[in-house]
Symmetry: C2
Amino acid sequence: MPSSYRQIKAELLDRIRRNIWPPGALLPGEIHLAEEFDCARATVSRAMRELVEEGILERKRRSGTRVTSSQVRKAQFSIPLTREEITSTGASYRYALVDRAARTAPGWLRAQIALPQDTPVLHLRCMHFAGNRPYQFEDRWINLTAVPEAKAAPFNTISPNEWLIREVPLSKGELVCSATIAPPEIADFLGISQGEAAFSMERTTWLDDVCVTYARLTHPSSYKMISQI
Amino acid sequence: MPSSYRQIKAELLDRIRRNIWPPGALLPGEIHLAEEFDCARATVSRAMRELVEEGILERKRRSGTRVTSSQVRKAQFSIPLTREEITSTGASYRYALVDRAARTAPGWLRAQIALPQDTPVLHLRCMHFAGNRPYQFEDRWINLTAVPEAKAAPFNTISPNEWLIREVPLSKGELVCSATIAPPEIADFLGISQGEAAFSMERTTWLDDVCVTYARLTHPSSYKMISQI
DNA sequence: TAGTGGTCTAGACCACCCC
DNA sequence: GGGTGGTCTAGACCACTAA
């Protein structure tokens, strides 16, 4: 009876879980396992490849496949458009541009995202509402050298978030989450009292080694970020 | 000249980025693309499969492959052992058990993780230090029905986090991050003043549809969670 | 029911790199 | 040098589901 790559994957996982192959252990080679499971080598290969992607196995040519020794788990979460994040809960969505200014990148920003001096940037501050409750304050900087089209965009009805995703799709980036006390002005925007905790996300986005945008998104402390492990 | 699946993947990405295939557009079938790229169907298939995993394409049998219309980005971050997270920064790691009690699951916990009444649980509270600075307060509940071995574990030198990862590897779970104001007792443990913001992570872990453990991990506001998009 | 993706096979060649 | 994983091929059958 032939095995599917899912069955093989489950069997390998099970053996790892039973400590038949403890962390660091060397697994049999693909050919050996293919014989054992009575299947083609490619089938074993696919099962093992997926376990590598999940961080459970490590493979090296010539030296073989081992169970990962450092027990690092990977979590994944999705970052929807703020609009969709809100409307999917059934609430209505409203966006408002607070202010918009073109200028050269300030020093702290140049340091943060490695821009040359005198880089023109667009600075936007805006609010996202769920129903009539403040949901997110967006403080965004767009590199106009990387995205000159942004200069002509008004951003009074479309949020920079949404505009960028449509204009500059498929970029890579980094997301840093932390808990902060919102500064007084932002606390005002979010409708929270001063000294209250806020959830902050800093997103830096790159396209082909050029930084496109840096944003600091601040949520009231009722916000929860949910991810799957 | 044969194409590798990486080249094909890059070419497909490029066409999507150029809006040759805008969001929602139907791509040619695998056979068609295999002819165009002069390669085997399996090679195209692998390229497309990886783009599906990255959330860029959506495939349905019979109806074909489309560019994802909802622009949802996926972020990934790794959850190392607290010990490794600390020692990797060069700081020394210290663990301390605060208290340990076996009891039946309180109502809020049973509701949170769907346990039957009178389920025996182990409640642990502990601290993790980086150097001599408080790093994380761990408030953990372990389902003794799922992991009876935990009853005999002292947890005075090994943190529940580490013990569980060794004893119950490869489980699935959920991670919920939020910003909170630490309650007075936890603020004391973390060495922060009352009313200061704290970063809270709630982890629920399942193994084969049985909840193994629920933990609330609290960090001082200096903590940053970093993930890649 | 016909066409799409999902999977498997048996074989092949290659890149890498430990011995 | 030789054994490992990484990839590709040409073909096949199957599962699903939209038309």
